[in-house]
Symmetry: none
Subunit: 137 residues, 4 copies
């Protein structure tokens, strides 16, 4: 089941609400299961550099069906795939990208958040994930 526009809007709404509560201007990018852009929202005041970062986190997550930071384990110093980060046009092996799975385990898409610190982006992304999961119930 690919991600729907309805799912995407719920993710954006909740992630934005969370960012606003935290006093942040965030960018939320949502990709479908093929890595193609489904929805995108840039809050007023977010820096331009975060556009690419939000998309890159989401792309990293959907390409490997994991959280973006999980890719770090494959490419960190001493890990088995040094410079894996150069594949696929450049990965973002840090938190803020989350793969979205259907109840049956299939891939639905991903979301990526940028605008604050990595910890802040992660909280906003998790709010988006929770909103996605709520749409599935």
């Amino acid at each position: 089941m690919p991600i729907s526009a309805h799912n995407a809007q719920a993710i954006i709404d909740h992630a934005e609400t969370k960012a606003r509560e935290m006093g942040l201007a965030a960018i939320i990018a949502i990709l479908d299961e093929g890595g193609h852009l489904k929805a995108f929202h840039r809050m007023d005041g977010a820096v331009l550099g975060s556009i690419d970062i939000a998309m890159r986190k989401a792309r990293t997550a959907v390409l490997f069906q994991c959280n973006s930071e999980d890719v770090w384990d494959y490419l960190k110093p001493g890990a088995p795939a040094p410079h894996l980060e150069l594949s696929n046009g450049g990965l973002a092996p840090y938190a803020g990208g989350i793969a979205l799975k259907c109840p049956n385990g299939g891939l639905a898409g991903s979301l990526g958040v940028s605008g604050g610190t990595i910890e802040q982006d992660t909280k906003i992304a998790k709010a988006g994930l929770a909103a996605f999961e709520a749409t599935l119930r």
Copy 2:
């Protein structure tokens, strides 16, 4: 005055409503005055090829501060700038991209629509423009 998230959401909402009335699945891309992505919405069922087209129309409009189809006059057979379409990473000299201007004439950004015929995309884009102008009142 750059385009705000509030402006962008109004554009997407009205353009989507128009597309739905017409029985179409459209993609709406909104750029700021520097050509950077502000918001993006892909209705369920839109073909993947339209993602790039919607963005390209919007980019063409913001780069030249006009409707995307106006660029055709510069590069059509016999016109003074043949192959101008190869500039700026590839232009979209056909309708569906509209520059968004502030009441004072300054550039606020642009929108681009793809998903139907050029005529259908134009109608949807104009609904988005009307929504933008309504937010300025």
Copy 3:
């Protein structure tokens, strides 16, 4: 003799003066004999799309040591090299780019102008060329 910063500044000054006389906001790009950027000036009010066009005209001129529009003869319908415009990252086979030659015939660099009509850009570019030639005397 490659183009100097002194030459480049003279070109920009005179081209800008000409553009101002004509009531235009132009962009002037100057490349060295290897096609690398030497100087660049964007007058206030020029559209963003003209940045790439000015550079592309200058690049076309220096790559083929001619005026940018001269390339048209090789690729126009019926000419011997159809789609030559796709070479070199995309050529600009229309006027506004001029190769700069030393008195001994050697290549010094090129200039490209964009911002007005092709005729207007050509006038501004020629003012730049005259300024370059004056620095050689």
Copy 4:
């Protein structure tokens, strides 16, 4: 308030004067608040490799609204965003790029300098910044 051609020329003039005092051939790139090239000056004798570096420093600064070297804190070994440098077409997380702010705190653009050591580039960039700030008074 986006950067004006007048601001840009003042930056280039003062940065060049500083570089000349230091016996260096520098490159100065100036971007507007959307990261688009506003002005560029390459002093005679600067190496070609510095063209891209000057632009990349300026781009890094404008994208994140900071000094280019500030980005290092996010991606250095042990920092939370390893390989952030791969985002946005490749960042320059070292000194010589400075975001230019208006008196009201808004972003006006950025400048980037390359040609000497990082310390030398920084001194030249700061001379450019001082000239920008002087134009605002």
